[in-house]
Amino acid sequence: MIPATFEYHPASSVDEAIALLSQYGDDAKLLAGGHSLIPTMKLRLAQPAHLIDIGRIPGLSYIREEGNVVAVGALTTYATIERSEVLRRYFAVLPECASVIGDPQVRNRGTIGGSISHADPSADMPGAVRALKAEIRVRGPNGERTVAADDFFLGTFTTALEPGEMVTEIRFPLPPARTGSAYTKLANKASHYAVAGCAAVVTLGADGACTAASVVITGAGTMPTRASAVEAALMGKQLDEATVAEAASHAAEGLELMEDIHGSKQYRAQMAAVMARRAILKAAERARG
């Protein structure tokens, strides 16, 4: 478990990181918390010739209220997210999701920007980011642009990031009143990544009926996947146990299922439904206050 030789480039600014990325192209990888990249390098599954360390760039770790948005810097660690009062107030799903990632050591190093850029299908954070319909701010050689979370995840370890681009910020729009969110997962007992997980955000009308639902499945499929059929089945309904269970039973629809020694496709599909039911019920309870 010794990585192949690489050249280490500490970047002191985003511009410098982007310049280095452009210079080394496919031979380069960005290093943030390193808790996904370093293990794959030690197993020589990844052998980047150049490692650009963005972990020392100042000013990329923050959680800020900016009008109708809460902006989270790309280098904000899971531990910071887990403890954030602001996030807990508006987006319970984020600290809840952060709290079940790895162990304290991982949470102290791992970053939200690193997680979504790596786009591991079994990772937790991409599900929460997508369920909250965040906007992802990226910068590259051609300047800055914003990508909707729904357009960001393209497949297993694949995102909409263009060569030379890096994530700088994740922007979460403030939710309407009577909105609740939650994350549940069935953890792989070895890695504690998700065999199946669900991030759910629901908004209830004054009468308690569901006016908006956003449900994303992690772990079961090849990428964090929006469960549109579940969302549709929730809309306009009172979110009682039976309704939610029926809606959640559609959780695996549209998933390209994965399979390994920790769960067959059939099991993952069923667990996606179980996790969806639990997350939605919890989110609805939080929405009711």
Partner: protein, 784 residues
């Protein structure tokens, strides 16, 4: 015996300050001048023929000093040592190997070549430059398939993969089964899989070898449980006299049996050091550890148990298929035969027991002793068998245990297997555990939960195991232990033990024994171990033997020195030795307590030698070897409660009670520590762990991303209690406790899960999907 000031008290471990402040030295902490680093090229195939190996490019790589293959070792380095080769095939060489694969690779990770380089990175990089031309062969990973006549053969010349079979005649057990059934009794049959586990110590293996050419002395630092055995066998492998080999075992970060072995890397590092003239270091990485360090368990057990309608077991028939893996390590071939079969009756007075066994080679890593070594499998068989009877008869499993226990007045008791148990009170431990957990209330709660459709289960494990090995005859070498005890002129006591404690805490317990016996503070006692140049010949630490065997050697050595000190004190006091007593560190004359000399004064007299009585040698030092006349048999009852999440199949361990009897407890804190760690590993087997290969022999659990270790967050607090039934076979009355928790825990959890599901048996490990599938099946056929 002196006043029991320390023995029996829960004092903290004296070794811990250096361990928990990072000041201890492990193999990887060693840096010697001019040291080179070794990396091992390993087979990516489960089974393949090696057509050719080209090492030229690797040899040219920067910093590479040498590359070796099996060709370089031919006639120079002998085979990997095996303690007790069994007939008919192993004695003829089946399963034996040199340190590097020759002609064929037989498991994923089989070592093929080594690179010696100036840096660890350079050595690793050069591995990628070695070209091996493999011809992949069909692999066999299932031991039952491997035993079939048409299976791919690991050792073609033997015409079979079955290394040995033990098949006694079945007439008697057949008669018992027939009679039991004729009398209205039952015979229950169950196949059980005891899955393969990776011992996974926190510190992986490591070795540093240094060879001084001037006098041809080899020093080996190894993360090992057996310094002397390693020294002796390695000397033989390398053709060196034993006195030219020194083994030093620095701090060891866990062994659990996997370091009770002599592996290829020790001889390889030594060979490289001898060839290059430089010290050579090799540190195993975690993926190597999971792939090539021995695995444990991996048995398939066919269990048949006969009982009367009242629940009295009349006969037990067990067939064991033991998966050896691809090669033999130290005890690979004898685990099932020497440690499982003799213990299949567990705590139960079963009139007739029958055990048979096939030991089979497969294209997997070698199996060997892992915490419990064959006894966890036996306890699992016995406990599951009793539960099978209870389930079939609709009886409470506690009741069936009570009916069948060997009674306290029957000890020493010869079991139907021929094994003789020393002492025990199985009823008491079970009663105590039931009381502690509130057994009857739990059964009431379970009935309520069942009515609500919830899955809750209670599991009992009344285990017994073998410790304190051992008497002659178990292996070709005696399993004694040694102690050299020296009292220096300042009155400090130095204990050199031939055992090799590596986390068990004998630096504390051995000091407790000596301090109490001499009546001096523990601060004046130092326990030293792990260097073959300074410690007397020993057998090492494993099999929960160190306190019972090594501790007794210490105790006996101390008694000898006490006698000598009494003679010296008598001379100083002008009294008869028979009238002198030692108490609280003072030698005094009976009836005249004011006439006294201190322990330190006598020590000084002995070492300065100017006031010694005639005929008494100067100095205070003795070496004692202790070989027990028989093994000890610790026992106890563990009870646990599980709840199962019906939606996901996840098993939650809710409560865990352990009542253990390891004889006299020298230090209850250390006993509790052993029980805690043991339970975690036993629960690990039941709920989480399992080495998985695919059908081609590819290892699918090569990192901790896939091999599931138990975590503290998944376990309840353990509720511990004990009973004390001393063994008559050593003066301390101690039995051993290192493996008890592991042996007890797996069947306790297995019983609880089967109980929750209302089934006679479910195979471990209880992974969520496995349990979920069973629940799905039950919901589809409610009557099943």
């Amino acid at each position: 015996m002196g006043i029991a000031a320390l023995v029996g008290t829960p004092i903290k471990r004296r070794e811990d300050p250096r361990l928990i402040t990072g000041q201890a030295t492990y193999v990887d902490d060693l840096k010697l001048p001019g040291m080179l680093y070794m990396a091992v090229l390993r087979s990516p195939y489960g089974h393949a023929r090696i057509r050719s190996i080209n090492t030229e490019a690797a040899k040219q790589a920067p910093g590479v000093v040498a590359v070796y293959t099996a060709q370089d070792l031919k006639g120079v380095v002998g085979n990997i040592p095996v303690a007790a080769p069994l007939p008919p095939h192993i004695t003829n060489g089946m399963g034996r190997r040199g340190p590097l694969a020759e002609g064929k690779v037989r498991f994923y990770g089989d070592p093929v070549a080594v690179v010696i380089a100036e840096s660890r990175y350079g050595a690793r990089d050069a591995l990628d430059l070695i070209e091996v031309d493999y011809e992949p062969l069909p692999a066999v990973v299932d031991p039952e398939k491997a035993a079939q006549p048409d299976a791919p053969l690991l050792y073609e010349e033997f015409g079979t993969n079955v290394a040995a079979s033990v098949r006694p005649p079945t007439d008697e057990i057949d008669r018992v089964f027939a009679e039991t059934q004729a009398n209205g009794g039952i015979v229950v049959r169950q196949r059980m899989v005891n899955q393969r586990l990776a011992p996974s110590p926190m510190e992986t293996r490591g070795v540093v070898a240094e060879f001084r050419k001037a006098d041809r002395t080899l020093t080996i630092w190894s993360s090992s449980q057996i310094p002397h055995l390693l020294r002796n066998y390695l000397a033989e492998q390398l053709g060196l006299p034993q006195h030219q080999v020194r083994v030093i075992v620095p701090e060891v970060g866990g062994g659990f049996g996997c370091k009770l072995n002599i592996y290829p890397e020790e001889a390889l590092a030594a060979f490289a050091a001898m060839k290059t003239g430089h010290p050579v270091k090799w540190i195993e990485d975690r993926s190597e550890n999971l792939a090539v360090t021995i695995h444990g368990r991996d048995q398939i057990n066919y269990v048949e148990v006969a009982a009367t309608r009242d629940g009295k077991i009349t006969g037990l028939k067990v067939h064991v298929v033991s998966d050896l893996g691809a090669y033999l390590q130290f005890f690979t071939d004898v685990i099932a035969i020497a440690f499982t079969l003799p213990m299949i009756c567990g705590c139960y007075d079963i009139p007739v027991a029958y055990g048979s066994c096939d030991i089979v080679f497969t294209n997997k890593a070698p199996t060997d002793a892992y915490r419990g070594a064959g006894r966890p499998e036996a306890a699992y068989i016995a406990e599951r068998a009793v539960d099978l009877v209870a389930h079939a008869l609709g009886k409470d499993p506690a009741e069936v245990r009570m009916i069948n226990f060997v009674k306290p007045e029957q000890f020493p008791h010869k079991m139907a297997t021929g094994t003789v148990y020393d002492s025990g009170n199985y009823q008491l431990a079970l009663e105590k555990a039931m009381q502690l957990i509130g057994y009857q209330q739990l059964r009431a709660e379970q009935a309520q939960k069942r009515a609500q459709g919830k899955l809750m289960g209670i599991g009992i494990s009344s285990y017994v195991e073998i410790c304190g090995i051992g008497p002659k005859g178990l292996t070709p070498f005696g399993l004694y232990e040694s102690a050299r005890v020296r009292v220096d002129q300042s009155g400090d006591v130095l204990i050199y033990t031939g055992a090799s404690p590596h986390g068990q805490g004998e630096e504390t317990t051995f000091a407790q024994i000596a301090a109490d016996e001499f009546g001096i503070p523990i601060e004046r006692v130092l326990v030293l171990h792990g260097d073959t140049d300074s410690t007397p010949e020993g057998r090492g630490t494993y099999g929960s033997r160190t306190t019972a065997v090594g501790g007794t050697a210490v105790y006996n050595a101390v008694q000898k020195l006490k006698e000598k000190m009494k003679q010296i004190a008598a001379h100083m006091l002008e009294a008869s030795p028979a009238d002198v007593t030692l108490e609280d560190g003072k030698f005094s004359v009976a009836g005249a307590p004011q006439k006294a000399v201190t322990f330190a004064e006598v020590a000084a007299a002995a070492n300065f030698s100017n006031t010694l009585p005639p005929g008494i040698e100067p100095g205070l030092e003795t070496t004692v070897f202790f070989e027990p006349e028989a093994c000890t048999f610790p026992f106890g009852t563990h009870i646990c409660v599980v709840e199962i999440d019906k939606d996901t199949g996840e098993v939650h361990l809710r409560r865990y009670v352990a009542v253990d009897d390891c004889g006299r407890q020298l230090n209850p804190l250390l006993v509790a520590g052993q029980i805690h760690g043991g339970i975690v590993q036993g629960v690990g087997q039941a709920l989480f762990e399992g080495v998985v290969y695919d059908e081609n022999g590819q290892l699918l659990t090569s990192t901790f991303m896939d091999y599931a270790m138990p975590l503290a967050s998944e376990l309840p607090p353990f509720e511990l209690d004990h009973t004390v039934t001393p063994t008559p076979y050593n003066p301390l009355g101690v039995k051993g406790v290192g493996e008890a928790g592991t042996i007890a825990a797996t069947p306790a959890v297995a019983g609880a899960v089967a109980d929750a599901l209302g089934l006679p048996h479910v195979d471990i490990p209880f992974t969520p999907e496995r349990i979920w599938r069973i629940i799905q099946q039950q919901q589809a056929q409610p009557q099943a």
